[in-house]
Symmetry: C2
Subunit: 185 residues, 2 copies
């Protein structure tokens, strides 16, 4: 059996949005990291509101070497129970992350840019709609952009090429099963 | 800011099902590979009906080294236009893959086992419900099991801990954009 290796006639950067309330948005973006490096592509990941909680992908991407530039920013989910930081501090972190996004785009070094949880950051007013649309509109034509997080803004969805909504049918935590390493974080 | 590293009081293997018609099921399972290796876990991936079409993760996982055991089986999607192989041949391939699953489980070497597209294989009668339920029921308590593919069987969903349905809101191919490496394969 012959193995087919696709090669598009026209290469173009896609905008992919992963939204919804189910498990598999950040996880899916990490799968695209693994897929892209397999093609020899350079990937930049910037996570919003996630700098305070270790997740396995922090070390997983290190094994992929210099093809992946990974930054986890922020101080956890703004507004959830137990998070001690005021909105202003979360916004400051997210605004710094937006600056970082522009620096990474301007570097011209990447084929795929993942903005993890940016949909939530927008919903929580840590970043502004104009800032997110600005990133979408100014990105180089060949740069793939992936935006994850619940409550994706309709104007972001409108500009995207591929949008998936990940819906929770059931989740282990509802049976009081604690988050498990490798699966949940 | 301190970084929290969760550690569950009780570790237990989860059954995760990723189903639905949207992009992000296989991709999400590949994200769990990256996450799990970050925790030092050993991962086995067995893909059904996918041995004929190169995808970036084939090479991506190689960068993760010996923590990942990856096998892509089969001769493409059974029954789709252009696939020249009869059902009997697809079934033979899938049955061989089921045997491989049992060998991998019995080896006791893995913390996470991903059965990619097994839901479709079941729907297409390449494997039997009893075979899939047998895997779920006999697996070691600590082994995480991830089953992907459209049309997950209700009895599989019933036995799972976490189930996400990935729904297509839009997809680039509907705008006649060809599949792009790093994103779609």
């Amino acid at each position: 059996m012959e193995i087919t290796k696709l090669e598009p006639k026209i290469r173009r950067g896609l905008v992919v949005v992963l939204t919804g309330n189910g498990k598999g948005k950040t996880t899916s973006s990490m799968g695209m990291v693994l897929r892209a490096v397999g093609h020899g592509m350079k990937v930049c990941v910037i996570q919003f509101m996630k700098g305070d909680l270790y997740s396995g992908e922090w070390d997983g991407v290190k094994l992929l070497g210099s093809q992946v530039d990974f930054t986890s920013t922020g101080k956890g989910f703004c507004g959830i129970q137990g998070n001690p930081y005021p909105h202003s501090e979360h916004r400051k972190n997210a605004q710094d992350a937006i600056e970082l996004v522009h620096r990474k785009i301007n570097s011209g070094s990447f084929d795929l840019l993942i903005l993890d949880e940016i949909n939530n950051a927008l919903q929580l007013k840590l970043v502004d709609l104009e800032q997110v649309l600005g990133i979408l509109d100014k990105r180089p034509e060949q740069l793939h952009l992936v935006l994850t997080g619940r409550d994706a803004h309709p104007e972001v969805i409108d500009r995207a090429d591929t949008v998936s909504e990940v819906n929770e049918i059931k989740h282990a935590y509802r049976k009081d099963i604690e988050p498990q390493p490798g699966i949940d974080y």
